[in-house]
Amino acid sequence: MKRSIIALAFAVLLFPLQSMGQAKLKVGLMLPYSGTYAALGDAIEKGFRLYLAEQGGRIAGREVEFVKLDDESDPAKATDNANKLVKRDNVDVLVGTVHSGVAMAMAKVAKDNGTLLIIPNAGAVAVTGPMCAENIFRSSFSNWQPGYAMGEVAAKRGAKKVVTITWKYAAGDESVGGFKESFEKAGGQVVKELSLPFPNVEFQPLLTEIAAIKPDAVYTFFAGGGAVKFVKDYAAAGLKDKIPLYGAGFITDGTLEAQGADAQGLLTTLHYGDGLDVPKDKTFRAAYAKAYGAQPDVYAVQGYDAAQMLAIGLNAAGGDVSKKAEIAKAIVAAKIDSPRGTFTIGANHNPVQDMYLRQVVGKDNKVIGVATPALADPGRGCKM
């Protein structure tokens, strides 16, 4: 027993050390490869690798080596996992992840160790707010952004009284917060904020409540399985054609196949969509389809842009990850040529980007306009 434990200890602690010693650029991909978000992690990695392939497998002249780690979307293990990449595998860059709680833990580790971190999805406001740091970047969005954009849209479309509904969790609260901020600034009123525990999906009582309140519109933030069910329940409760449903883009992203007819015509806001008139998007989609035999989604774009941001920063620093100030300066100064359209990185290291208004048509989230151009997250509490 004891001997086998010691053998295991050697295997676990020493195995990964074998591949050390070259000047390769080590990129630690800490993404969900199992569980609910596995598909998202997969898309992010594919996007990242696509950009790398376009660059001939090198960033700033250095060959790239990946160290992959499944974060299981489990925040309880997140600090350990991030530490493993930083301290055991000595990665030069951390890339990850999808789950906000895990990303929060990663940000803490990155901040403590000074490791460069690029977040390719998780929208936790705190990461580019109070937790912001010179070496922490995001290639996706903050939860606040799509909500804020939709608040303006809802007000413009004449809604006065709105009910919001979301899971009682940080991402939902932040999204609703963004919506409320712009909507009430434009003179509207959020008459009731409904919520239910994450990831509970028994929406029926809340839908009954909505029907009783009779608001002008409903704003919602759900994702994944909850998004599918909410849209279906909303239609089944007979509300779809009577009270417009507005949502942050995730309610119809990657879920349209499951939602079917019930999602048709829904309006959502996000920084990406289908039918964008952006040349870069067309080449990106073609390349992605050729490489992987599937259409890319917003997560693939975020992975792709994470790689781009890394390249911009490292090129400016001559491939030296320790020159954090130069990396940050270059990334903040850059105009990033993304499939979502050109965007920049704000002072708090969150993208400043156009938020698109999209409508569900068939199996597409068709872009029908820009809801808010060049929207920047306020980065409240960020001191850099």
Binding site: F15, S34, T79, A126
Partner: protein, 334 residues
């Protein structure tokens, strides 16, 4: 050498090995062993309940998480808190919850007890999960590492890996010795009696409920210590710390190490962490490493199936025999 002398020698050798490890362990190694030691303390708390008192608690994560949250929430926004009052505060929180949870769940037995403890820990989970107090689902940061000092003079900087490592090691040794003393004391013997045959203990005149409740609260306190250390180590807490897979994991640890003695909990905590890492090694399992849960699951099933008399031997079975006492009264002689 007597068996007792050998046990003490092994204990001292293990503690020494752990004390010397940072010299060779490297940054990650120190981190990893720190984590395993925290979990060893956590596993010891459950061993006290499951192995010594015969109470199969499936909600141990609640104490761990509550203390971790209390550590973060009690730290002032403006600066570091002193360990001298932060640790008691964290332990107080987990101990109080253990008192509440134990008072209710010890009224039940067997399968019921397992389910009730699980449900109560889920309740704690949902409180952290659904209220903005602790940052909701995203969790919350510990902004300042607690300060350990005497009369204003700092003793150890717990924010640095090495000092923290030794702090955790000292705690582990202290808990081990403390629990060892408890088990040898009259209280420990009474617990053992209750585990083996509660009915007989009642017939002898032991009110078993307060004994079990005391064990439950004590276990909650020790788990709380582990939670406090975890919060300080990571500087970040999240509701998932109270999730039921954390309870399941720690249960797995003590079983892997062997139930019925304290060293089993420590060995199990180390072995389980290593095993988990092993199943995740890309270099061994390649692409299949991402389905490492399957490996763990099959290992567990094989483990149960391969040991017909139970990993715990007959001890726990007898512990639950008293649960069917009522039924036997029916059956025996109506």
């Amino acid at each position: 050498m007597s068996a007792r002398a050998i046990r003490i020698a092994v204990f001292v050798a293990a503690a020494l090995a752990l004390a010397l490890f940072p010299l060779v362990g490297g940054k990650f190694g120190v981190d990893f062993v720190t984590k395993m030691m925290v979990f060893a303390i956590f596993a010891l708390s459950l061993e006290l309940l499951v192995g010594q008192a015969g109470l199969v608690c499936f909600g141990q994560a609640a104490f761990f998480g509550i203390a971790a949250y209390a550590t973060v929430l009690a730290t002032p926004r403006t600066g570091a808190a002193s360990v001298w009052w932060l640790l008691p505060a964290a332990l107080g929180a987990s101990g109080l919850f253990a008192l509440f949870m134990g008072a209710l769940s010890i009224r039940t037995r067997g399968v019921y007890f397992i389910m009730v403890t699980l449900a109560f820990s889920q309740m704690a989970y949902y409180v952290a999960h659904d209220t903005p107090l602790g940052g909701g689902t995203d969790g919350i940061y510990l902004d300042y590492t607690p300060a350990l000092g005497i009369a204003g003079t700092p003793l150890l900087d717990l924010g640095k890996p090495w000092p923290f490592y030794y702090f955790v090691l000292a705690m582990l040794v202290a808990v081990f010795v403390f629990l060892g003393a408890i088990l040898r004391s009259r209280f420990g013997h009474a617990l053992a009696g209750i585990r083996v045959n509660e009915q007989r203990m009642r017939a002898a005149g032991f009110s078993t409920y307060p004994y079990k409740l005391a064990a439950f609260v004590l276990s909650g306190l020790v788990a709380g210590l582990a939670g406090f250390l975890f919060a300080v180590k990571d500087g970040f807490v999240n509701p998932e710390l109270m999730g039921w897979n954390v309870s399941g994991t720690v249960l797995m640890m003590i079983i892997l190490g062997g139930i019925g003695h304290l060293r089993g909990a420590v060995i199990g905590a180390f072995a389980f962490s290593l095993l988990e890492e092993f199943f995740k090694l890309d270099s061994v399992f390649g692409d299949f490493a991402k389905h490492w849960h399957l490996g763990v699951g099959l290992a567990i099933i094989a483990c149960v199936a391969a040991m017909p008399h139970g990993i715990a031997g007959g001890r726990l079975r007898r512990a639950t025999a008293s649960n069917t006492e009522d039924a036997e009264v029916h059956r025996g002689k109506p």
